[in-house]
Amino acid sequence: MALTGVLRPGHAQVRVLDLDESVRFYEEVLGLVETGRDAQGRVYFKCWDERDHHSYVIREADRAGIDFFGFRVLDTATLDKLDADLKAYGLKTERIPAGEMLATGERVRFELPSGHLMELFAEKAKVGNGIPLVNPAPWAKARDNGIAPVRLDHALLYGPNVAEVQKIFTEVLGFYLVERVLTPDGNGNAAIWLSCGQKVHDIAFAEYPEPGKLHHCSFLMESWEQVLRAGDIMSMNAVPVDIGPTRHGVTRGCTIYAWDPSGNRFETFCGGHLPYPDYETMTWTFDNFGQGLDYPQRKLHETFLSVVS
């Protein structure tokens, strides 16, 4: 098997200021599928085409932002190996027991030098996407509810020490650097896009003075037309939109950035090129960051650089 180690983003847990309002938003406007609630009051969602029990979890809190972001790994042996590798690298890891999160096996949690909590897990119940595995239809009825993205695709996180974060992902977790934006002096990376498979990115980071901040969680749409439809639904529901619809230079993805009712940014995203691990990293200079962010407008939107939760 070519794809081993870390397979894909598995879940994000995000804080919201008003649970009921947020459940309505994620279910009816974004069009996620609710799959459960736990004793802590957390609400679990998946995108319609995802097969695992959940990918996006919200909990009510007195501040917005992200609690942690988790990746699914191949199997429990891989989980144990990556846990040992992280420790050998010098990071402290913690084992969260199976069942702490609904339908999810044991998780390995560690903190990045950017102040973000990451998790790895090997087991999560497969609940399916509503389509049979034998003679499957191309889509299920849930695709028609709200924006209805296909999957949780990636996250962009803001915090300090991005160079250290890059080393952990590339040297321990098996990711490779797909694209980067240089710092203004050209000597370091202001932002990095990392992949663990053949997606254009599975996680990204930008250098920012405050630790642990969420820039956005991104949801995959099937086409540019579906991104435009997402924009229509945002306007129908008075969702605050940040940037787009437009196309990124970085990744070549098509995008709309908008905010949930608590000010957590999310993205409806489609496209992007398909890198291989042996491809050379693509580099953007800081003075062309505007083109990297918004290719048609060539605009370095101030909110992109400054507004996080």
Partner: protein
């Protein structure tokens, strides 16, 4: 009934319905003065001090508004809804940025 909001920093005034936030009201009329952020009470860039007037609020992040702020009516404009005419002073700004890229507190005219 709409109320009048005055941004003391630049003298801009606009009308704002009790059903829309100070920030939404400003944006809908194309006025400027309070920095626009997430519009959901999460990012903190639209922080203002209410100098005068009555209002109601919705939930906002404690990362940006603590009890002392509340007591001194330093609140996020995206979560403040006017109950009467209001006068505000801007204290929020887009102060932190990627790599410290240029990001000015904006008080445009």
């Amino acid at each position: 009934m709409a109320h009048t909001v005055r941004i003391e920093d630049n003298g801009v005034t606009y009308t704002c319905a009790p059903t829309e936030s100070l920030l939404e009201g400003m944006q809908r009329l194309g006025r400027r003065g309070i920095p626009m952020g997430c519009r959901g009470g999460g990012c903190g860039v639209c922080k203002v001090e209410i100098l005068d007037g009555e209002f109601r609020t919705r939930a906002m992040s404690c990362d940006h508004v603590d009890d002392d702020d509340r007591n001194h009516r330093r609140l996020l404009a995206c979560r403040v809804y006017p109950s009467g005419d209001l006068s505000v002073r801007v204290i929020g700004k887009l102060q932190k940025s990627v790599c410290g890229a240029t990001s000015h507190p904006r008080v445009p005219v």
